[in-house]
Amino acid sequence: MSDVVLRAHAVGKRFGGFTALSGIDLEVRAGERLGLIGPNGSGKSTFTNCLAGAFANHDGCFTFKEAPLAGLKPHQRARQGLARTFQLPRPFRGLTVAENVRVPLSFGGRGAATMEAAMACLESVDLAGKAHRMPKDLTQVELRRLELARATALQPELLIVDEAMAGLSHTEVDQILALLFRLNEGGTTIIMIEHVMRAVTEFSQRLAVLVAGRKIADGPPADVLALPAVEEAYLGR
């Protein structure tokens, strides 16, 4: 069995006449930390939504653990071990923090849905003390941690972290980074979509760059960031 956990082949997505993604090829190996970067509107979130099943891609295909994802609904992909967080935290506002985590534990089908399991997930993101609070009582960084706790409750093989550092302070970014490193050390493959370049370069073993729906670079962070095309995409000519 190959160690490639995710393979995207010629993935394309259009919204009416607008091409959001075109011919995206990407491979992610098990245990890898991949950074997916690009300017606003480059297609990063569209790629995530296609991968997670929220959008249907018009062209190409994804294979996850060597099985095609085509036709699978988002919850079926989640149950297979493909978890994601959202750009803006989307907690279940009518449920407590612990109940938020019990949702993936109950429906993910990858572990016990007990209160102990929920508390273990919350402890892993330092939120156990707020288990019985409502999401409205959490700070921005705590909401991001709750997103991560909910995603990790699925015990994913692949976790897509969509701009988890946006709007956070330097210290808070470090806290989230430490969490992600811990998850990765536990065996979870992570794709980090991020604009905070300090975080993405520190975290990623490899960078892929999207610009206007196309992948323009893929390789070690230092090499990729030195490419004139990447510099131009971020800073202009």
Partner: protein, 327 residues
């Protein structure tokens, strides 16, 4: 992010909950006590008034499973209620069956109608879903108006049997006891759903459908389960109606009062808990019954409207929400 029309009620730190069996036993005991108390009164009006109030308890509790737990506001409650009532008319006419089998068949008809509605409106949410359910009510009423077998627009008469089952002193007393049992069962079913895995999934999809899907919740399947259970229970609420007044016609069976009350009662009581529809239904239906006797039945919808506006402004989470906030 998809928004739920009804704001979710903030919950507090968990309290010790009665188990499923314990709650069902408590509901059974409460039903038995209520039946005995009503028999003790032995008044036909008390039977009628209790039946009137309790049918709303069933209807509001049923509506809340989809509208409150899942956040899908159903404006077509009257359609399901009338479907139950007309199932009783059709089945008793065709097969000469008594009330209890008619209620069972009404549950099947309502469940199938709910499932069909769910399948047809899979992708709809918010106002679009509400309008679709309103359309269902119009379509079904047109169908019944043109179905002469069940009386069409003239309506249909149902004669109460001379022999009163189970040793009750009158058919009104028997009908009331049946509705008491239905109300207790509806509350116990709602509570079982609320504290179950299904309830957790419905709460998740109410708050954010896309996030629920990402967390592994099969939202479409849960929605279909909720529409089916809710539809079945609303039809059950309507099944005894023809026996209550011995006459039924489309304009009243599909009346606005059922649709409005089914929504207003859970909203006033609180949508996040089984107790909300119970409190709202007892409060509003009793108020309406009192108004019917003392003022005029024409005042009923006015009362509902005024109370609803007051609660939406003052207590958007209903009576239950007021108490939880103070604790």
């Amino acid at each position: 992010m998809s928004e739920a029309i009804i704001p979710a009620l903030p919950t507090q730190a968990p309290r010790r909950r009665l188990g499923h069996a314990g709650f069902w036993l408590a509901a059974t005991a409460a039903a038995a006590i209520l039946i005995l108390a009503l028999r003790g009164m032995g008044s036909e009006y008390a039977y009628f008034a209790a039946t009137f109030v309790l049918q709303y308890v069933v209807l509001a509790t049923a509506w809340n499973i989809l509208g409150g737990y899942a956040g899908y506001v159903n404006f077509g409650a009257a359609a399901f209620f009338a479907a139950g009532a007309y199932t009783t008319v059709a089945v008793s006419k065709a097969f000469g069956l008594s009330l209890l089998p008619c209620i069972g068949i009404a549950a099947l008809v309502g469940g199938a109608l709910g499932l069909g509605t769910g399948i047809l409106t899979l992708r709809l949410r918010g106002a679009y879903f509400a309008i679709a359910t309103l359309c269902l009510s119009v379509v079904l009423q047109t169908f019944i108006v043109n179905w002469s077998y069940v009386g069409g627009s003239r309506g249909a008469y149902i004669l109460r049997p001379r022999d009163v089952p189970l040793g009750f002193d009158s058919y009104g007393g028997y009908l009331c006891a049946v509705v008491v049992v239905l109300a207790a069962a509806a509350i116990a079913i709602a509570r079982s759903i609320e504290v179950s895995r299904l309830g957790l999934g419905l709460a998740a999809l109410r708050d954010d459908e896309a996030a629920a899907e990402a967390a592994g919740v099969p939202t479409l399947r849960l929605k279909l389960i909720a529409t089916s259970i809710s539809g079945a229970m609303m039809a059950v609420a309507g099944a005894p109606l023809p026996y209550l007044g011995s006459y039924i016609e489309p304009a009243s069976a599909f009346g606005l009062s059922y649709a409005v009350n089914a929504i207003a009662m859970p909203l006033i009581g609180g949508t996040a808990s089984w107790a909300g529809p119970l409190i709202g239904a007892v409060l509003l239906a009793s108020l309406q019954q009192a108004a019917t006797v003392t003022i005029s039945s024409a005042a009923n919808l006015l009362i509902v409207g005024v109370v609803l506006v007051v609660f939406v402004c003052v207590a958007p989470h209903g009576i239950i929400g007021l108490f939880r906030r103070r604790r």
